[in-house]
Symmetry: D2
Subunit: 376 residues, 4 copies
């Protein structure tokens, strides 16, 4: 850091007065969220303090608030611990922890969830979302809004590894969608990632599925086929780049894929529905040697035709989160306007209205897809 940089950073720091306390939604018992005053956290080494400007509601937030799952370390539930949920946020860097020069005060950033411990075998090979020290803060692991405080608040601390710069011409609301697109990107990455000209089916037009359509098409997949039950969401998928959409209420999805591909099937399926039979259907959508990524799941065990997977040399990739810096790649495509992520942003609320935001997302009121809480 040159002294000129330091000066400039000091000037900027003065621009952002950070109070001692902040408003934050805190989880009491299941479904009990309260807007409380809480100390503003301080960034440690390799961390920054982010003033939160916008945050989107994710289905997992709703799960955490309701069931506490996915459980934190050692099966502990997050209830009555002063925990603030929320992980799909973006904002402005207002303080730098020691040694940070990757970001400057004033930078607009959006976040991904996981900072791995950096010292387990998984982190050592770059698979930080599968950190074997998940939840151990003392060992360095952080998962914003999962095992550490998240973004339904005015401020949050973030490790530099969990942040991506936001370009000036991307709105706050759009920037909250980067992590969702990053999850879809990771799903395509783990299946091989080189998909230009290959057929890709996306099952389930939820936020990850719709972003998956945008990313897959941006990377040149062809055809990109989206299956689902809601015409409005399917139409949104079309706007995001799907070559074909299939409403499974009107056509068997496996038959539709075979029809569209002239009986060849596709190379890749990104399963984002969590439907009980989705894996079996996906297996029949891919050709021999095809690959399936599971980004969603049914809550209970379901019957799976394993013989079909083995006989057809099919690989199945369960993914947790948005690893391998996929968020950076998704952000790059969005910055280049390769697809219009904003289409899935349907509703906006204020910080005070978080319970309404969550209700809209959970109950899909007015067919809500992405509900965003905007702070300014």
């Amino acid at each position: 850091m040159t002294s000129a940089q330091i000066d400039s950073s000091a000037t900027r720091t003065n621009q952002y007065r950070v109070p001692e306390t902040m408003k934050a939604w805190v989880l009491g018992g299941p479904e009990e969220l309260a807007l409380l005053e809480k100390p503003v956290p301080r960034p440690g080494t390799a961390e920054v303090l982010v003033r939160i400007d916008a945050i989107a509601v994710c289905a997992t937030d709703i799960e955490i608030i309701h069931h506490g799952v996915p459980a934190m370390i050692d099966g502990e539930l997050p209830f009555n611990k002063g925990f603030t949920p929320g992980h799909e946020y973006m904002g402005t860097v207002v303080r730098l922890g020691p040694s940070v020069d990757e970001f400057q005060v004033g930078d607009r950033v959006t976040v991904e969830v996981h900072a791995g411990c950096g010292r387990c075998p998984r982190c050592r090979e770059g698979m930080y979302t599968s950190c074997l020290n998940y939840g151990y803060r003392a060992k360095g692991h952080r998962a914003n809004g999962f095992s550490t405080d998240g973004g339904f608040a005015e401020y949050a601390v973030n490790h530099v590894n969990t942040m991506v710069h936001v370009p000036d011409d991307m709105s706050d609301a759009e920037a909250t969608l980067v992590v969702t697109a990053g999850t879809a990107m990771y799903g395509l990455d783990v299946m091989g990632g080189i998909i230009a000209g290959e057929g890709v089916v996306i099952i389930g037009p939820g936020p990850i599925g719709l972003m998956g359509v945008g990313v897959a098409k941006a990377l040149g997949a062809d055809p990109v086929i989206l299956t689902g039950t809601r015409d409005r969401r399917l139409a949104m998928g079309k706007d995001l780049g799907a070559d074909e959409i299939v409403n499974v209420l009107h056509e068997d999805p496996v038959g539709a894929v075979q029809r569209i591909t002239g009986g060849k099937g596709v190379q890749y399926v990104l399963e984002c529905s969590g439907a009980p039979n989705a894996l079996n259907e996906a297996a029949r959508m891919v050709n021999r040697g095809g690959r399936i990524c599971l980004a969603a799941f049914p809550s209970d065990p379901v019957p799976v035709d394993i013989a079909y997977l083995v006989r057809n040399n099919i690989y199945v990739f369960g993914i947790r989160g948005e690893g391998k810096s996929a968020t950076h790649r998704a952000a790059a495509l969005m910055a280049q306007k390769r697809f219009d992520a904003k289409l899935i942003h349907t509703h906006t609320f204020s910080l005070e209205e978080v319970p309404s935001a969550i209700r809209y997302a959970r109950e899909r009121i007015e067919d809500a897809i992405k509900v965003v809480v905007a702070m300014r």
Copy 2:
């Protein structure tokens, strides 16, 4: 080819008089095998004629003879078509088809099953066991003993891609086991293949599982843990290199793996049992981000805890056969005496006794593991 080579080859060719007809077991209806006289086939371009010296009985042979599965192209069953089953054979090259210089008359060879079409997208990327033209002989695909005549006979034609040289000091019987070891090797390959120092669990001490123990240990995996129900087979696994064996009749296999690994779990599981709950157990044996290869399967759909796979970022690889030239690598390890494959060879019969050989294998008479038919 120099003229000296041609002379030598000619001399050798004269050594191997090939008759017009041969004895071959031919499949009539289900379970109907008859030893008939059949024309000796002629090798085409890139093919050779192999005089079969030994062949092992595989569980899949029994399936084919009984159910006709896995069905040939277009769902056709192999019954009453003059089909000769059997794919785990070795022998001596006695005639060369046009353009062959990879092998010489007199060479001892063992075989793998699949010669891909070489022209579909899968073959073009080297995944010839997942050939999209499976069963189309006109397009070049051959699967010995599956879609083309196999080795329960005196002679068989083989594409050069399906053959591996056998060193002088490897017996005929041992050489029939190369393809089984190759399947295990392929299973380890698809999971990443770099396993020195990593924990590997092999579920199921059948032939593939036991060869998997040998291969995994030869490549430096540690610990190699074998689970099963039969003490004799488990003990054989120990002799093949397993660091730990677990009889699941006496100890829960997931608990045993956690005990042995100090709660860490392993990185890889090679599932060779086809047991209904094997995938769910495998998922709980691996650590987060672990990998499972399915080399066997239950015949019917079984409940699978997909949520566990997704939340733990687990990858599952179904494999068909012994692709990616894994048979060559397995043969290399066996040639270097890295493990003693002969241990699993338990019984020997003559060509005339094929029905007995099959019966021993199917009913596991005298705890038969690998039953070999030796021609000389």
Copy 3:
């Protein structure tokens, strides 16, 4: 193939009367090309006969015509053998060899160069452009315009593996550029292929370099930096998607890359210039752990700072041709109008004018980039 398909194919076949002989440019001694009458070749198994509609001139054609290099098998030179050069062609399928159903008579296709033997270790792993039986036609290898007759003629035979469908709205001339874009795509593939948001430098705005710009930008690379000496070509690179262009006559290219990337360097360099110092410069453009693909080369050995490569953990990938089906991926991006390949097509000639076409390409008359010979 259903009988309806056969009928339709028969009808189409009748549409394309194929004569017994054709006009073809034939190579005598070095630089001696003559337009002769030659028998129209017949397609064998897995081959088709293509009526050539357009062909572009490649620098390698000029090399072959002048020096005979790269030499054919066994060091044989292609002179006075009745050889027809030319490999960047496209056309219409007019006859199908036995077993072909991947293409129909009447299909418009463009070609890649290499059909591997399908039986060497390289082909078995999908690296068919590195076929170990290069030039052995008896073993199945074919390299159009290199080891087998090429496209400066009215007709040519092609293996199905070397063909890609051309969409209706892509012109003949544009379709001849697919193989060039495929080479650039292969270069990006071998370096990892997942480049969204990563910096890529392309050295050398020749045809491969310019197509590399288009492909890299289509896949989301950012920034894409093109370096060269000719402003007109650099401007063309800008139109093809380059974020930055650097004329190395006016700015040191290494310094420019460091300037543009804020001192970070890029992740990937695709070297397409063959300049003597290009590898050393590329090494200083990438960051530690970066990757360089060499798609061009100086004719003589040049000094290389190997110590720099080793100390900075740099990987260098020499590529031959357009392997791993990269041509299909490039064609898919072009079919989706992701970049305008037509920009590099500068001149057009007729079949009779091939010598002029070659002269324009060789001497860069009127700054010719891609010179196309159009047959209709």
Copy 4:
């Protein structure tokens, strides 16, 4: 950590009294090493204090002491900064920094060099030896004996990521060789790592080359060919598992490889000699599509035949150090007695005799290969 563990650890801690100061060799100007009294360092978070029990002399140590290269961050040289060199050491854990439970006091460990920053793009993808923050201690990077104090001393601090457990039956001296074997392992890894049955040439029978022989043979490579100029070292290579050795003073190494492989060449070359023509020779040892890893380098630029690399689709991997946890895999093979690393340990000195140890290593007195400084 259970309380029982804590007690046990406390007891062990008491066993190892750690003084305030220690003896350490400190680098003054070039070639000026002095044995001084220095404070014993304290382990920070994720670090331990290691009592050094043995350390081997590496050629790089000699370079650092003489030239200061490879230069530390920002081109700074390590002279007159109180720096202690030495990186091939092993010892006993005597103190745990905060949050460490991967190791216990009393554990015997050996070390690898690099702890990456964990926050640059390279570290995030697991390439920590190519850390883009090399030398920035404030950002977490440490390279023992390069950018932070090393092991020619009584104690050294180590990040947990740089340590591997040593089994009881491995001697101190042998354990110092793990990092050398790890470098060879990394070289094989980056070339693909799946080498059973493949031909591998090792150029240069120095410590890395000889360990490369051991590792390659342990993983089933065949043939393993070692080339060099010193018969004694070549014979040692034979004892370590080389199938063939070639003294290049008596036979051209390229010709020898072609002779041994029947003209086929090998798939992989691990170049450990740094000889000026080694890369050109390696290129002619591999077959088309082959791979070369450069683990050594000539100090000045040398002529390289780039055209040969490109035309033959050869990949060249420069490696820095021993990344991707290769040290763990090498240690696992050594723990399993797959090769006898001890063979290359030729001389032993005491801490006071470090200058003699270095002299023996540098001048190859009595053909010294690995010179070890043993502390007890």
